[in-house]
């Protein structure tokens, strides 16, 4: 029998489906307790075509995905989890046409809960557009 696949590799190799597919989310890089995910800009991300204002919705969704990936990067376990809460600070507007990048760290895990922090940028990691924290609950039997 083949050796069990690493949980993060499994995540990276999942066929895109659902909202991840709509946003085109992909993995950029990862480490022992972090993951960086990105998605290309799409015209559907705009709030206003004339001003080029980008909606924060795709940013929130990317943060949710990156935080979940960071937990898998840290735990190397494939467990069902639900987002308990998420807080996002908007630091500056995202620029239309730029890919979004979210790098999340999972800084603590308990038996039932994982805690994450995340920074989002649109091309320059030194000029973040948002920062976020999120906690997740590991679900029984999932």
């Amino acid at each position: 029998m083949a050796e069990e696949e690493d949980a993060f590799e499994r995540l990276k190799n999942l066929p895109l489906r659902g909202h991840h597919a709509l946003l085109g989310i992909y993995t950029v890089d990862n480490g022992p307790d972090w993951a960086e995910l990105a998605c290309p800009f799409a015209p559907g991300f705009l709030m206003d075509v004339e001003s080029g204002l980008v909606s924060s919705g795709p940013i929130i969704s990317l943060v949710d995905a990156a935080a979940g990936a960071a937990i898998i990067a840290r735990t190397r376990q494939w467990r069902g989890m639900a987002t308990l809460d998420l807080h996002i600070d908007y630091l500056r507007p995202a620029r239309a046409g730029q890919a979004l990048h979210a790098r999340a760290h999972c800084h603590h895990v308990t038996r039932k809960v994982a805690f994450t922090r995340c920074n989002v940028h649109d091309g320059d990691a030194d000029r973040p557009i948002a920062s976020a924290t999120a906690s997740f609950f590991f679900m029984e039997g999932a």
């Binding site: 659902g18 909202h19 705009l46 908007y90």
Partner: protein
Amino acid sequence: MIVHAPYARMLGIRTVAGEAGAATLMMPAAPSLEGRAGFLYGGVIASLLELACLEAVAQESGHPRPKPINMSFDFLRGGMMIDSYAQARLVRVGRQVVNIDAICWQTDREKPVAIGRMHLLLD
């Protein structure tokens, strides 16, 4: 109108008649909004809450374009792959800051799927 924004259209969000005074947004379920199998993606539910806040502030504060400062979400139960509703309420409209809260529900408003709180800057 928030529902005319390309992003709101991408999620299929529209306005429905709600209680007097507050606009209610409705988002039909679609495969492109799914997270783990059988459930709406958390980020999509959060986005619906945020759009409800922006809609409420646009309608009620008369301010053309308030700037989002931050937003917090609590996810209370899994969102089923059915219609979702969201409504926001201006808690306080200050000279410079607006505090809003919002609720998202599906079949029963008394059993919310998620709640959110948002700060916006008027300047």
